[in-house]
């Protein structure tokens, strides 16, 4: 597909030219970076580092109305979900874009989830190649890279005075219809600059993990005392799940009264005991070691076996944000060591 050059000074003009869309972009807040709806295109920044939260909430919000209801005694009025406006996520990292591809089969297979699908279909992803991967990143171990294109509609790479824009999908092509005029055509030399920039970024990635046969190795460690040790230090805060771009577990809660209210779905975390406890008090995952073991086996054994993708994109957030420094990579290395 097409490649373009966008002068850095024209970024605001470019974003404005995208037209009447909800523009979601990284903003700095409380010393972290997060994705927010921005009213003014000039507020969008690409030079922010260290994305604490992925924009997963754009397709799978932390709280979402499944339906609103009004009980009229002998009948119930049900109003489904929310209207979704065309949305552009600008500046999403390649790993986070890939996480949408990982989530797609979960929400689309068997029973199609109309809420996810509606948001996903209405959303175009303009990615930003990582010039400065953080020291927690290990996306190449999961088949990604700082310039990975999986899941993206457009990828932007910083090549000095310009951004190099690659259009990657029909959605991206359509979005560019009104915006190509703001850009210039890219030449072979620009492409070479981009390749060089991406190669340099890749060289900056420090961490890696060997995942060969990991889906078969994990079940063999099921009874190993290693899980007890890992579970003993975990404090069960759930941070590792809330900030993970591929975690998808949720709860369903009702709000209001039996006369009028809403049924909501809200993010939930498998690291909490309430997640699995039965009404009788019995809990199949009764301690932190069984819960952390399930979390990791779900990502590296069950999910790939059921849905064809490892449920991790190597963003490293769970490692960096864990208050007691549980390290996913070290745990996976231990699993390999036990097997070998």
């Amino acid at each position: 597909m097409d490649n373009y050059l966008l002068q850095k000074s024209k970024l605001t003009e470019f974003l404005t030219s995208l037209g009447d869309v909800n523009l979601i972009a990284p903003v700095a807040a409380n010393g972290t970076t997060r994705f927010e709806l921005i009213e003014n295109a000039a507020k969008a920044k690409l030079d922010l580092e260290d994305y604490t939260a992925s924009p997963k909430k754009v397709v799978f919000p932390q709280t979402e109305t499944l339906f609103a209801f009004r009980n009229k005694g002998d009948s119930l009025d049900i109003e489904e979900g929310e209207e979704i406006a065309p949305t552009v996520v600008f500046g999403i990292r390649p790993c986070d874009a890939k996480s949408f591809v990982v989530l797609d089969p979960l929400f689309n297979k068997d029973f199609e989830d109309p809420y996810y699908k509606k948001r996903r279909d209405a959303t175009v992803l303009i990615g930003q190649a990582c010039a400065e991967p953080t020291n927690r990143c290990f996306c190449p171990s999961l088949g990604g890279s700082p310039g990975g294109t999986e899941g993206l509609d457009i990828l932007m790479t910083d090549i000095g005075n310009d951004y190099f824009l690659e259009v990657l999908s029909e959605k991206g092509k359509k979005l560019m219809n009104g915006s190509a005029g703001v850009c210039a055509a890219a030449a072979a030399a620009d492409n070479a600059k981009k390749e060089k920039a991406l190669e340099q970024s890749l060289g900056k990635i420090k961490r890696q993990v060997d995942l060969k046969q990991m889906h078969e190795m994990l079940p063999k460690t099921f009874e190993d005392k290693m899980w007890k040790e890992v579970g003993n230090s975990c404090i069960g805060c759930g941070i590792c799940t809330y900030n993970c771009p591929t975690c998808h577990c949720f709860d369903i809660q009702d709000e209001g009264s039996t006369y009028q209210g809403r049924r909501l779905r809200v993010w939930d975390a498998c690291m909490y005991p309430e997640f699995t406890v039965h009404a009788s008090g019995e809990n199949p995952r009764h301690d932190r070691s069984t819960r952390i073991r399930n979390r990791i086996m779900h990502k590296f054994t069950f999910y790939p076996n059921n849905l064809g993708h490892i449920s991790c994109v190597g963003c490293g957030r769970c490692i960096e944000l864990c208050p007691v420094n549980e390290d996913l990579i070290e745990i996976l290395n231990k699993v390999r060591a036990i097997n070998e």
Partner: protein
Amino acid sequence: MSNPYIPVQAVVKDLRQETDGARPIKTFTVEIKDKKDKFKFSPGQCAMVGIPGVGESMISICSSPTQKKYMQFSIMQMGKVTSALHELDKGEMITVRGPYGKPFPIDEWKGKKILTIGGGIGQAPLRPIINYVRDNAKNYGALSIIYGARSPQDLVFLSELEGMKKDKSAKVHLTVDAEAPDWKGNVGFVPNYLMDVKPSPKNTIAITCGPPIMIKFVLQNLKKLGFEDDQIFTTLENRMKCGIGKCGKCNVGGVYVCKDGPVFSYAQFKELHPDF
């Protein structure tokens, strides 16, 4: 595109108090309001029964699909949702969505003898099998029912079961955990009673449901009696919210009880992840 999270409206047509005590059980007879909302189901499948504003609970459909006009749910009062359901009166509205899960392979059992072994509220998912087999008696061999509860007051569907004894549509073996005044039936736990009744495994399918500890010993005893793994079926429970394999609550390893279960043959059950 149909939305699997939107329930359909139903009316409580009848209520039957099955047991009293701290955790009473009521059987709800419900009729889906709009004909076009009615759904087909098979024995073993479940539905999310709910009250908007309170929540939903996964409940086995305990009537047989041969009964087309209504569905029945036997519900034990446990916590928030089931308590609110127990407060409903006849004529009030509830919501239902489903059917969920894989059913018992009841058509594959044609020509075979059927043995159900239940404990407590675990008799609920067995009831549609019993009624289906009675309604299609010419297709199946003899029907035997072994059922137990803590006390005579805790036996659900008691009058129905006694009716079957009388009209000889099934061999009914009842037991309670401890001696009780006026109780003339057996006294003892279900797994032990199974060994007393000593059913022959020949051309027989055994289906068991009840508290986990009961299931465990019943399975062991069925093996002792000579039942093969593919002659034994059970149903499992886990906490559930979505019912459609997405919320992540009900997994046993890579198996999601809501969509891959709740019915498992003993052969499948043994393959389940040790997490269970």
